[in-house]
Amino acid sequence: MTQPGAPASVVRLKHVAKTYQAGAIEVRALKDITLEIPSDRFSMVIGASGSGKTTLLNLVGCIDTPSAGTVEVCRQNIAALDDDAVADFRARNIGFIFQSFSLIPVLSAYENVELPLLLVGMPAAERRWRTLAMLEAVGLAEQARQQPNELSGGQKQRVAIARALVKQPQLVLADEPTANLDSATGAAIISLMRRVQADSHTTFIFATHDPQLISHADEIFAIRDGELIEHRTVAAP
């Protein structure tokens, strides 16, 4: 439960479980997870590979459905929405940053960043200045016309960050965003994310298996074998 004076929760999970069927074997990826993630914070979900971090992010990102329990994101019970409504909800409220960047290869950096604004039907003029401003914010104004295959890994992830943030979502989910980057670039990316999070007051949920990144987090959620084993507030709101 949210304590009095604490920031409002942007994500609420109540007794959430997720079970996969892998052939004849039933895999329990998440087991009875109940948690609240406060808004305007840089939260980190940490755990070893296979601990259930990505499954948790998928449920929070409304791209997967729980086997049991309820998922509430931005005060919306996701189970109450049909497929198109969930897609529209994601388009408006959630930004994604993936480990493998996942840029649309046939679109330029500018077009990749502009795409989420097209999905919410933003007028062209506003779309243009917002896209350019976002590229400027991540330091890629010069590379706006370049195709993804002309960008370095770090630049691609910057484009992905700009794409996730350009629509000013309530929630940004980053699943191991530095795993495919060298340590220096990874550190720069985390610094960038922390900076834009602070500027935009967007809630970031960052999943990682790297304990060294804990120092960047405001909130830490530790997961092991599909269970939440620890929730710790590192930095006071």
């Binding site: 998928n58 791209i63 997967d64 198109d84 897609a87 994601r90 996942s102 046939v106 679109l107």
Partner: protein
């Protein structure tokens, strides 16, 4: 829509070799179908033009003639046919539609040549008509086929004694030499008869001798035509053969006689009232046929005339058979090409979906709806189909133009002479458009299956796909 188009188009360009191969398959389909369509159009329009030039669009008969009249054409003569023609020609609805309105008399009998040592006879199928009207009818060319004929001056309205016969009949009646017919060898010696004329031939010769005085003076070799009059009496007239007119079908070529209407009427009606077996209407355009036919039926009902109307397709079952045959072949080719296009596009789009599974997952996570994913791949299939079809259509037009200018000739079935081959690709523009639209639709439809698969992908599974 523009972003969907952009992504679809750029993916086509990105996989240019694969897209090119698929578009080539669509293009080959369009090329084959349009060229064959051009050929069938040429055949259909050529046959229609030939039939309309020969038979007119519509023929008015006495009721029952179409089913029973061939056995005894004279028994189905139209009474007071000039009044009927006046009625038709003066009708304000029909008048603007009609190009030629002319009477014709079908008849049958025995044709014989007793000049010199000849003693040859043969049953004939004859047609009596007005030569100037025939010449006008042979100029009809609504579709611009180029198969128009100059006025045939071998027959004239002023000389009812002159006529034409089939090249086969000319050969049978030993008229090759007098008519200067090529490729017409004399009969083998063993087949020639030195015996005196039989009783029937002798009778004909005698009848002809009596009638000959009235028919002398016409140009060309003369033959005698014997027929029974409506009263049942034998009658003979002489026909000055002005030339041989080869017919495409041997049975007809061996029996065909074309004569002046007056001569035909003289032969079958004698001193009785002259009638005709049909009134021919050649219309300005084939599109008037149904309207003209309906108006004629109304006119005949109104005036209590026991007449029926038949169109050229009913009179020539061969025309319908050819149409159906070529239509079946076209349908078969369309099915084969459609299947080729279907499989080529399904294969390409399936590969595209597989390769872009992660991209689909990313788009879905960002908020792209399932329907938009489906639309993107459908658009891609449609674009490949449209590009292939466009190239195929342009190639078909270029190839057709080249063939049409090359002067290649051929002898179509039922024809006796070679005519230029003409691929009329745009002769039936709606059908050509239908072929193109159909191929694009097949390509789009072929993309539906992979597009649905892409749209139904689980976002999590798609994002996990490497």
């Amino acid at each position: 829509m523009s972003i969907l188009f952009k992504i679809a188009w750029r993916n086509i360009v990105r996989n240019r070799r694969r897209s090119l191969m698929t578009a080539s398959a669509v293009g080959a389909g369009a090329l084959a179908m349009l060229l064959f369509l051009g050929y069938t159009t040429y055949i259909f329009l050529g046959m229609e033009t030939g039939n309309v030039q020969r038979l007119g669009h519509l023929r008015v008969f006495r009721a029952g003639y179409f089913l029973y009249g061939a056995g005894n054409p004279t028994a189905y003569g139209i009474d007071s046919y000039r009044e009927v023609m006046t009625l038709i020609g003066a009708d304000p609805v029909l008048r603007p539609m009609i190009s030629v309105l002319t009477p014709t008399q079908s008849l049958m009998g025995i044709a014989a040549n007793y000049s010199g040592d000849n003693s040859a006879s043969r049953t004939f199928l004859g047609e009596g008509l007005i030569p100037s009207d025939r010449n006008r009818m042979r100029r009809w060319d609504q579709y611009g086929t180029g198969n128009v004929f100059p006025a045939d001056l071998r027959m004239s309205d002023a000389d009812p004694g002159r006529g034409l016969i089939g090249a086969g009949l000319a050969r049978i009646l030993n008229l090759c030499a007098p008519l200067h017919l090529a490729d017409c060898p004399p009969p083998p010696a063993s087949a020639r008869s030195d015996e005196p004329r039989g009783p029937v031939n002798a009778d004909i010769a005698e009848l002809a001798g009596r009638d000959a005085a009235a028919s002398r003076g016409a140009h060309g070799p003369e033959i005698d035509l014997l027929a029974a009059t409506v009263g049942g009496a034998p009658n003979v007239v002489s026909l000055a053969v002005a030339g041989a007119q080869p017919q495409g079908v041997k049975e007809l070529d061996d029996a065909y006689v074309l004569m002046h209407l007056a001569l035909a009427q003289q032969l079958v009606y004698g001193r009785e009232e002259h009638k005709v077996t049909a009134i021919v209407l050649q219309l300005r355009a084939s599109g008037y046929m149904s309207a003209a036919r309906a108006r004629l039926a109304a006119l005949f009902r109104e005036h209590h005339l026991d007449l029926e109307v038949r169109d050229f397709a009913e009179l020539t079952p061969f025309y319908g058979q050819v149409i159906r045959l070529f239509s079946s072949i076209f349908l078969f080719i369309a099915l084969v090409m459609g299947m080729i296009v279907l499989f080529a596009v399904v294969n390409t789009m399936t590969m595209n979906v597989m390769e872009r599974t992660n991209e689909i997952g990313t788009s879905r996570a960002m908020g792209v709806r399932r329907g938009q994913i489906r639309a993107q791949f459908l658009l891609e299939g449609a674009l490949i189909g449209a590009m292939g079809t466009a190239v195929g259509a342009v190639l078909a037009i270029v190839i057709a133009a080249t063939v049409n200018r090359s002067g290649v000739t051929w002898i179509p079935p039922g024809n006796s002479t070679a005519i230029p081959l003409h691929l009329n690709v745009l002769g039936r523009p709606l059908l050509a458009l239908g072929v193109c639209v159909g191929l694009v639709l097949v390509a789009t439809l072929a993309a539906l299956l992979p597009a649905n698969r892409a749209a139904r992908l689980s976002v999590v599974d798609a994002l996990r796909h490497v």
